[in-house]
Amino acid sequence: MALLSGLMILPTSCKKSFLDEEVINSHNTSDFQTALGLDGLVIGMYQSLKFHFNYTWAYTTTNYGVDEFTVGGDRTEQMFNSYDGNFNSLSGDVASVWDNMYGSINSANIVIKNVPVYYEGANKNTRLGEGYFMRAFDYFKLVKQFGAVPLKLEPSETIQEEFTRSPAKDVYAQIILDFTQAYDLLPATVTETGRISKGAAAHFLAKAYLFRASEINNAWNSDTKTTDLQNAIKYADLVINSGSYTLATNYSDLWNFTTVDGTNETNKEVILAAQFSNNITTQGRYGNQIHLYYPSVYQTLPGMVRDLAGGREFQRLKSTDYALDVFDRINDSRFWKSFKTRYVSNNPASAPKWTAATAPTPAQVGQAKFVGGEEAVLYIVNDAGDTRYTPLIANATNPLATDLARRKPTMFVRYFAGQPQSYLNAHGNYGVSQFVALSKFMDGSRNLVASQFGQRDGIMARLAETYLIAAEAYGRLGQYAQAIPYLNKVRDRAAYKDGENRESYVDGGISYKTNPATNATALSSYSDKNTYFESNNIPVTTTNTLTAMHLNSDGDIFNSNREFFDKIGATAQSDKFIAFVLNERSRELMGELQRWEDLARTKTLVARTAAFNSEAKPIEGKHYLRPVPQSFLDVIKNNGNALSPAEKQAMQNPGW
């Protein structure tokens, strides 16, 4: 009995250890009070850079609803392009940006708070600098998208329910403070590829100054405008003159992704890139998915099948006529190095056959138009007035000599004979699924055709943009002549060199060649040529185009008749200059996930989409900012209570 009653002991005397909870296979927050733990936290924090390439938000918040791109054949996220009623405070990608930036800010806040207290070791300043950089970077993204946002500068230990939005002015002040701290703390050169350097801090600091001095902030930035522009130039120059970075010799070098972590990813033009790799354990939930969004559909075309080099065609972003016409496509190599125009047959079984009506000779009737490895799909990027092509007329008994049916490859032609030039109306036989596709992000290294896990680094800052930041700042100060050398740096690089083969083409699909997943015996759709000569309809030449690209004076800008000044209503020199810089940014940075932020900050979004993007109908005064996510308005409190509809409305951006 004594034994039994011993078993029936009272709760107070229970064995404590039985209920102690211990999780042996996971780190916990107390690790952040050690140097090793803070090193780990900083590594984890870098993951947030990958966010900007992870999923649909990467393009919906940056490259939809602009002049460069519109919606392709898959319309899933079209509301970000059209600005229609489906784009609202409940839109998922808006909340994703908001949530993830604040997640990363919390990591940065812990670094900033704990490194000075707990970190011992040589990397102390670097870690702290990385923390300041990340916080500034994340708030910069937030202010660009949302304007005023809550400023949270302390790590979270308990649930905070009440927040107010700090004005954009305060947010910018914090961003500039943090980037400056980062610049002061970070090392000039990094020992590991992908680490944040002093140069990266300077680049983004210059950019932050430029953005603060932009039109969107005109209501309050007059006091700081001039010094901001001077500082933008100062920090851009610090990057340019640091000796750490140089422009890639050939614009293609940036996109010539031959293998995972290949040489293009360590090109000295790259200032900061989100690091992706083929280490499966680091790929996380997404990998770099940008490769999915730009390609147009080729797998359903005759003679074609989907493969590693051609990629998966999500066909979300269709290039606009503006995107093609902003380039001088004869002299500016960047166009031909940014877009894919030719595919070769990798599935000859489905090649089309000559018919009696189309065959060049009777003997060819019934034979395949091409065999595997021959060109199967061509995009002809011509101008209105080109008389060489007429539409394919199905079942015509005697098609014109210019009928596409007479051609061996399947051809997509921008303007057929007699069609007028237009930016908003359809012409030629480009379609929602067949368009000239941006190829900067192609990734033939993925471990299977269907894989969404891209393995290319995502470039976040490169030196060409630093030059454009400085040039714009000079222009905004009215010092146009000083801007010219900076512009020429990128324009000269873009010119064809003497002896350069203008038909030569490369994109990241080429990494299929070094990819162990490639079936060695199978044909590939990859083509190392473009349609430069056929599109431009000029004889083969290899002389340089430097003269045509080089700006001799600001007059070359103001008197240009190919910069759409009339389309977007730019008459004053200052407006023309901004328009020119925005066009140059298009040419240099086409599709590089920045455009909307540039058009919003310069308040040129409405005019440019009206001119170039038929579907996009942004509203002045509303669409320069994203809606504050409803998930934020619905969850926060004011004096312990949920916000009333009126309070929520007051906290929302205007018009949303």
Binding site: M8, L19, N25, H27, R75, S89, E161, T281, A517
Partner: protein, 1074 residues
């Protein structure tokens, strides 16, 4: 079980159902044959005759026959001469013979038999006596299992509902949850038709706001921790007792908050040996309530979707470039343009155009569903033996279930065994063990690789375009029928995807009981619960989940996940009972420790060079490295103390009081322990003198109970601040790191809340048990009210915190309801009976308090029910009428664009703006206002017919918000066009992939339904015929499953299942006792 990877290019497999049915029939028959040698009766040895001398000097032999109340003879009935030790039993014919010693005055026979009321029959000099004994299945005398004890139903003080073996057997079910569906008031069970999957159960509605509202399952006294009730073969269940009110569940303290389901498995019974066979065969087919557009309808739908942009340009004066400018009058050329991606679609389309006139009925429609479904066949066999003496009792069973799903690739096989032994070697000691083992093999079937894709192969097939075709002229599968890269052909996917889930579950309970003193008993229970889960997955390179269509692809995929759980409960119990005159006392004391441990591992590989190795060859011979790997360990513990006291006076007044202390490991230090008291009173009115004269009242009991229960169902480790591992590569150098939470993940780590404490529910219950008109009307009525405080919720928090969620105690809810069980015998004649059983319950929960006000984001509003829909309110569709256009113009002034054909939502604050802050409201709730089950049973001679109806009323379900883009397959809806000004669905619009801006307002449907779950017709062979077959009992029956919905407002889904498909079929069954 084996797999063959089909290299055959096409043709679905034919269901081999017919053959299986034949096998089942033969096996049942063979069992009948074997049964002939089974000897049924056991005769107890007559103990030594003690003859009292001097009263009578000759012995008298009495012969007789004993039958039950239906006149059937009973075997093994114990016949004893009162006040002697003379005993005999009836033989196989129900006959007995006993010699009464001379000198016995007025001899009386005592007839006892398990399950029957013991009777005393005076001999009165008769030499031949026929005795009919009465079944003890008088509801109020049933034994009911309560926590840690059993009581007579008449002594029950809490709200407990019981489902007995007979009821469980009355329907062929594959799991125990199905068995109690609609049978117990206040217990709401939903269905799941994937073979091997369970539905969900909710007892007395929702109290907790957390995901976990599932009850505690206790099998033979051991709370299940390593899994659910699915491991128990329903045929091994003796009874299921569901504790509903807190005065009953508080005995389980922290675990009783959502109700307790006590399962008692079958045990051997003293008296006789039995051999039982139960066999069923089920044939089912998949039915779909959703009508998909046929080719003709779809073509017109697609045209309308393309016409929309031009229409909007015209009415709104906008200038948007149409994706394709489809003309108002259809043309073949324009049709060809919108279907040009697939030449096979064009071929079919052209069949509809004859001489420039379109006739949609001429365009062939592919029946995609037919290509991925088959007749589902289920066979279920259970063989059980049972027997015992007063010293040893044993039960054993073996069951085999084989279920072929109605969708290709889904099947389930289960082997189950049970053994129960109890030995009583000496009067003061008893020991016993129960062992249940179940081995389940489930082929889960195809699932799309992406989370947003089709959940099963039928759903995937339904997504195919009607005018596309599955195979090309050479018989090869077309991977993209329709030429849309997002519409992939699921036909053959059942062959290309294997998802095998093997579960081995072993449950045990071992107990020893010592009678220490008179009335004092010590018992120790030990319940190990072991579960081993094994999930092997293989996707062939040809699968649409992999590289469908890429020639020469070797990109297959295999994954092996294993986990094993070991949990145990160790209870020490002391019982003390004492009766002093009319006072009855009972005390139960408990100390209990529980432990849960789960170890899991996962391996994933792809491009396996030996595809036939499936997931069995993830080794260096076949792959160069794993794609992913993971091992994990989860542990939790619970420590408890409980004391309970019972008191009754004169069997009239009954009192129960209990107290329990629980400590849980997953709460932070300082908040681990809590206390859960309860008390209950019952008053048996019929025992009162003033009631004894009211002859028509047989039983009447009033119960009042109150109790407190708790809930600590938060994830293991959630107060510890565990970190999210994130690895980053600098260049090619991978380095491990971590952050506190990563918002980009599907389930980011919540903010650790060290202040989190127990969620507690206090519940009052008032109940009435009644039996009137000699059993013609009986049942019970319970009303209850509960209040839950310190609700635990994984609530959303502002992501500005750096976390998106946190567990928190957020407020309180209350819940009130009523449960009614009514059994009536409507007609009772010699040959014909009609009985009804009605279960009805209502439950209304309400959020009483939220610490920080309404939680819009989590959809919790003070004063509202838990689980509400909150959205814009659909009023109709904007029409092209002057009135509507005038209204649209007013909105336009505020920058809100509406057009004829778009959804008209209510402008709640009348400001001619529609925004999420002002114009959303609560639209209804997801939990039903009432649920009910009604069984009508008709008996005519040897036949019985039963009809079982279930109903759930007044609840919302989310379905019907369709984007109507015109890209994907579409169910038939009445959509708006300029010539069809409906208010039902908006105009299709190819330009808008996500549909109308307020499409979510279409999403909320009243899902109330009344459904005939099954109709059963049985035939009980008379004992004479049964005897000729050497059986003691034989019943055969046939049942129709899911004959149909009697009422449902939603036309395109089965609201019971939540999806549009359900299985309908027939069951044939046989129950035989030897």
């Amino acid at each position: 079980m084996y797999f063959t990877l089909h290299s055959k290019p096409h043709h679905r497999q034919n269901a081999s159902g017919g053959k299986k049915f034949l096998i089942m029939g033969i096996s049942a028959l063979s069992l009948l044959m074997v049964g002939t040698s089974a000897q049924a009766a056991v005769t107890f040895k007559n103990e030594s005759l003690v003859i009292k001398k001097g009263i009578k000097n000759f012995d008298e032999t009495v012969k007789g026959k004993i039958t039950d109340d239906k006149g059937e003879t009973l075997v093994g009935v114990i016949v004893k001469v009162k006040n002697t030790t003379l005993v005999t039993t009836t033989d196989a014919n129900g006959a007995f013979s006993i010699t009464i010693p001379s000198g016995t005055t007025n001899p009386v026979l005592v007839i006892s038999y398990v399950g029957y009321t013991t009777q005393e029959v005076p001999v009165n000099g008769r030499a031949n006596i026929t005795i009919q004994i009465k079944s003890a299945i008088n509801d109020l005398e049933e034994i009911v299992v309560v926590g840690y004890n059993t009581v007579k139903k008449s002594d029950l003080t809490g709200a407990v509902v019981s489902v007995g073996a007979a009821e469980i057997r009355s329907r062929p079910v594959t799991n125990a949850l199905q068995a109690i569906q609609g049978k117990a008031a206040g217990v709401d069970i939903t269905s799941n038709e994937r073979p091997g999957q369970l539905g969900s159960i909710l007892i007395r509605g929702v109290r907790s706001l957390t995901a976990s509202n599932s009850p505690l399952y206790v099998v033979d006294g051991i709370p299940l921790q390593a899994g659910g009730i699915e491991a128990i073969n329903p045929n091994d269940i003796e009874s299921i007792d569901i504790l509903k009110d807190a005065s009953a569940t508080a005995i389980y303290g922290s675990r009783g908050a959502n109700g307790v389901v006590l399962v008692t498995t079958k045990k051997g019974k003293a008296g006789r040996l039995t051999l039982d066979y139960v066999g069923t065969a089920t044939i089912e087919n998949l039915n779909d309530r959703m009508d998909m557009m046929n080719s003709g309808e779809y073509i017109e739908f697609r045209r309308d979707a393309y016409r929309r942009t031009a229409y909007l340009n015209a009415v709104n004066g906008t200038n948007t470039q149409p994706i394709y400018n489809y003309p108002v009058i259809a043309t073949q050329a324009a049709d060809r343009e919108i279907f040009k991606q697939d030449p096979n679609m064009l071929t079919n389309l052209d069949k509809g155009w004859v001489n420039g006139v379109f006739d949609g009925s001429l365009v062939p429609t592919t029946d995609w569903g037919d290509l991925v479904t088959r007749t589902g066949v289920t066979q279920d066999h259970v063989l059980s033996v049972s027997g015992g003496t007063d010293k040893i009792k044993a039960y054993g069973s073996f069951g085999y279930l084989n279920q072929t799903g109605t969708q290709l690739g889904q099947d389930f096989e289960r082997y189950s065994g049970k053994l129960s032994v109890e030995i009583n070697p000496v009067k003061w000691f008893k020991m016993g063990a129960n062992l249940t083992a179940t081995y389940g093999l489930q082929n889960y079937g195809f699932q799309a690789a992406s989370a947003s894709g089709a959940g099963n192969i039928y759903a995937a097939a339904r997504g195919m375009l009607p005018l596309a075709i599955p195979f090309d002229a050479n018989g090869n599968r077309i991977n993209l029928p329709g030429g849309d890269i997002n519409i992939q052909n699921p036909v053959l996917e059942a062959d290309y995807n294997i998802n095998l889930r093997k579960t081995l579950r072993t449950l045990g309970s071992v107990f020893a009981e010592v009678n220490l003193l008179k009335g004092l008993k010590y018992r120790i229970n030990f319940g190990p619960d072991f579960s081993n889960f094994y999930n092997g997955r293989y996707q062939d390179a040809k699968s649409v989940n992999r590289d469908a269509g890429v020639p020469g692809s070797i990109n297959n995929y295999a994954q092996l996940n294993q986990s094993n759980r070991f949990a145990y409960t160790l209870d020490h119990l002391l019982y003390y009972d004492k009766t002093i005159n009319k006072h009855n006392f009972g005390v139960t004391l408990l100390q209990s420790s529980s432990s849960f441990r789960e170890e899991s591992s996962s391996l994933t590989g792809s491009k396996i060079s030996l595809p036939n190795s499936l997931w069995y060859g993830l080794n260096t011979g076949n792959i160069t490295g794993l794609d992913a790997f993971d091992t994990n360990l989860r542990k939790s513990t619970l420590n408890s103390y409980m004391a309970r006291a019972n008191y009754s006076f004169n069997s009239k007044y009954l009192l129960t009081a209990s107290a329990r202390w629980d400590g849980a490991s997953q709460l932070a230090a300082g908040n681990k322990w809590d206390f859960f008291p309860s008390a209950a009173l019952a008053w048996r009115l019929e025992q009162e003198d003033f009631m004894k004269n009211i002859k028509w009242v047989n039983q009447l009991k009033l119960r009042l109970g109150v109790g407190s229960t708790g809930n600590s169902s938060v994830d293991i480790g959630s107060t510890l601040g565990l970190l999210q591992p994130l690895t980053y590569t600098y260049g090619s150098s991978a380095q491990t790191g971590y952050v506190s939470s990563d918002a980009s993940l599907a389930n980011p780590i919540p903010l650790p809340n060290k202040l989190l404490s127990w969620e507690k529910t206090l519940q009052y219950n008032l109940g009435l048990d009644f039996d009137i008109l000699k059993g013609r009307i009986s049942g019970s009525l319970d009303v209850y009210q509960s209040k839950t405080t310190d609700l635990i919720l994984l609530k959303k928090i502002a992501s500005v915190n750096g976390y998106t969620t946190s567990f928190d105690n957020i407020g309180s809810t209350k819940n009130r309801g009523l449960d009614l069980t009514l059994n009536t015998v409507n007609v009772k004649t010699k040959d014909f009976t009609w009985e009804s059983t009605l279960n009805f319950s209502t439950s209304k929960d309400e959020i009483v308090k939220l610490d920080n006000g309404d939680m819009v984001i989590d959809r919790f509003f003070i004063g509202q029910r838990n689980g509400v829909a909150y959205d814009f309110v659909k009023e109709g569709i904007w029409q092209n009428t002057p009135e509507d256009l005038a209204e649209i113009a007013k909105y336009k002034l505020n920058g809100v664009t509406f057009s004829p054909g778009s959804i008209k939502v209510k402008d709640l604050n009348g400001d001619y703006k529609i925004d999420a802050n002002n114009d959303r409201q609560i639209l209804g709730h997801y939990n039903p206002s009432w649920t009910g089950g009604l069984t009508n049973t008709f008996g005519y001679k040897q036949f019985d017919l039963s009809i079982f109806i279930v109903a759930r009323y007044n609840f919302l379900i989310q379905t019907g918000a369709e984007p109507l883009q015109g890209r994907f397959a579409q169910r038939v809806v009445d959509y708006w066009t300029p010539t069809n000004p409906t208010n039902d669905y908006p105009a299709p619009n190819y330009a808008s992939a996500s549909g109308d801006q307020y499409v979510s307002a279409l999403n909320y449907q009243d899902a109330s339904f009344i459904k005939i779950r099954n109709i059963s017709l049985g035939y009980n062979f008379t004992s004479e015929i049964a005897k000729k077959l050497t059986l003691s009992r034989l019943r055969i029956y046939a049942q129709a499953i899911n004959p149909g919905l009697i009422y449902s407002k939603v036309k395109w889904i089965d609201p019971d299942l939540g999806g549009s498909t359900f299985n309908r079929g027939f069951v044939f069954g046989i129950n035989a006792s030897f």
